[in-house]
Homo-oligomer: 347 residues x 2
């Protein structure tokens, strides 16, 4: 028996314990249980079914002083859409639960619903149900989503092999820059790039088209979405694949928003990009010989691209090497239960 | 624009607004969207897919002074299993989100997880994923569940026709009696029947076997589960079917626990049974000529049975007639946003 609070024993330990409990419920039709971006279920009819959920809580994941109700709803849906993308799948239907204090105005509640609906519609997903419940506490929005993926396109966190190239789509750090700009009260009026950063933080987009393009090549070996940041997420992919990774820091594609905000605040932009979460870009691996084909599939979408930022190694270590060959220390993971309640603790 | 709080405009109005918004997202593969016990999705491969969610919040749906963590997890899962039952379906997989303050002990969190897992296992459902998030507020547990139903076994709230018999499985009022016993601080030691009532309130069971037996006859015309109580739920079934119902109060099968607790507290047992929620019995309709076949299917399960409590009428009115032919007023619906925060406001 351990009666210590979650904030002392740590989120990871509690999650591990939950997963161990849940593993006893998994029958043969469950291809992948807890621990990946989404669970994978085989209904025995060709395609595989994906199921996942993600919750957002006021004063932990968002603040009303910074985010509109529409943005809160939008982001709650996008987090889930992104998890379906990360499996190589296509989202179909979502349900959303909203816990709200009785003194929340109808307009704020409707704004959250409008944001949920806008993101679902934008990405071809139906909002098919939900639950509205009262709460004496903060607003909480929980979305559960299901989707489908063809067996040959399914991409898990496990599957990366030594020698594989490590890639990310797009650029990193814009969302972290937006959060930093909010926290440090940089004024949006300072420039449109700052506005872009703040928008990246509040109104992210899932990389569904990119994920489908990558999955359609059937050449990638592992994939996940960057929801907590490269420093946290890459070790998870490596751990599940039983491998390590060497990242070349100068290869990491920095968002211009990130460089701007970091310089304005006297911070290291690379560190901001690596440790900041919520970019929802895709992190994936592929044999070096398949990178060209994957890039071609992405460029068919327009200006989308992926960047090789390092390689998978056999040693179970995750190292970011700077331009001089030195090791850059990775930031500590985001723990919902540690530290002050901010939108995202990116320390 | 209406800036009034939810508790003033009422839960029903906010839910209606959410449903109207969500309806814009429903494509042709969505057979049933928001408003039934679960959504129905047609993946185009024979069986229909069911998806629903239900949230429980500390001090609204449960109190730690009355319920153990295991009971909270159990009930959160059972609510969802019951919604799949209400469609005539079989549950397959669930995901669960837990919002918890950092000072919640690991043991309490694990107890909730154990309850979720126990109910899932008991009813052949896999717990395939979840989300653990911090919260400055009360514990909230949200479960989303998916399942399957053959097209010919699908039972919606709509479908009841004038002349149909109205039936309920089992007995009503045990859970309401358990809640009343808790609220009025009746001692469990007073008798084992009281313990049964309290157990009915905290450890309900979904009527999955009964629902499958009823659905397998393909004779029932509409069905739902009694989660908020007959007084609230029957009008919903009638509204969706565009019909009314006349209930004969003396036909309503009262749980013995309900009669005991009501008499102990000087309350009307019939009113307690009709207005109390969380029995999770099934309310359904069928042509009078099919009742015998349905009863036979239920009795094949052992001592399970359903009782004819009235009939469906064309007039869109829901009336409970007492033994003298007088009308009994139905209690007001449970609104999560009105009244004091108790486990269940059954007034």
């Amino acid at each position: 028996m351990d009666n210590r609070p979650i904030k002392d024993v740590g989120e990871n330990r509690v999650v591990s314990r939950f997963r161990a409990l849940a593993s006893g419920t998994l029958g043969s039709e469950i291809v992948v249980g807890p621990g990946d971006d989404a669970a994978v279920i085989n209904p025995g009819q060709g395609r595989l079914l994906l199921l996942t959920c993600d919750m957002m809580v006021q004063d932990v994941h968002f603040r009303w002083e910074w985010a509109s109700p529409h943005q809160v709803g939008w982001k709650a849906m996008v987090q889930n859409l992104s998890d379906i993308a990360a499996m190589g799948g296509e989202p179909t239907a979502a349900v959303a639960s909203l816990a709200a204090p009785g003194d929340l105005s109808e307009e704020v509640a409707a704004g959250i619903a409008e944001g949920l609906v806008a993101a679902a519609s934008r990405y071809g997903t139906a909002l098919v149900g939900g639950d509205l419940v009262g709460s004496p506490g903060p607003v909480a929005v929980d979305v559960a989503i299901m989707g489908w993926v063809e067996r040959e396109r399914l991409l898990l966190r496990r599957g990366a092999g030594p020698g594989d190239a490590l890639l990310v789509t797009g650029h990193l750090g814009a969302a972290a820059a937006g959060l930093a700009a909010r926290e440090q009260r940089l004024e949006e009026a300072e420039g449109s790039l700052l506005g872009e950063a703040i928008r990246a933080h509040h109104e992210p987009h899932p990389r569904l088209a990119e994920a489908r393009a990558i999955a359609s090549t059937a050449k990638a070996t592992a994939m996940m979405d960057l929801s907590d940041g490269l420093a946290d997420d890459l070790p998870r992919l490596c751990q599940q694949s039983g491998v390590g990774a060497h990242v070349r820091s100068e290869k990491i594609p920095l968002a211009r928003e990130c460089s701007l905000v970091a310089s304005r605040l006297g911070l290291n932009d690379l560190r901001m990009a690596v440790s900041g979460g919520e970019d929802y870009e895709l992190l994936f691996t592929a044999p070096p010989g398949a990178v060209g084909e994957i890039q071609a599939a992405l460029s068919d979408l327009g200006d989308r691209r992926a960047t090789v930022i390092g390689e998978i190694v056999e040693e179970e270590e995750v190292i970011v090497l700077d331009a001089d060959g030195g090791e850059m220390a990775l930031g500590k993971g985001f723990d919902h239960f540690a530290g002050p309640a901010t939108e995202r603790n990116d320390d």
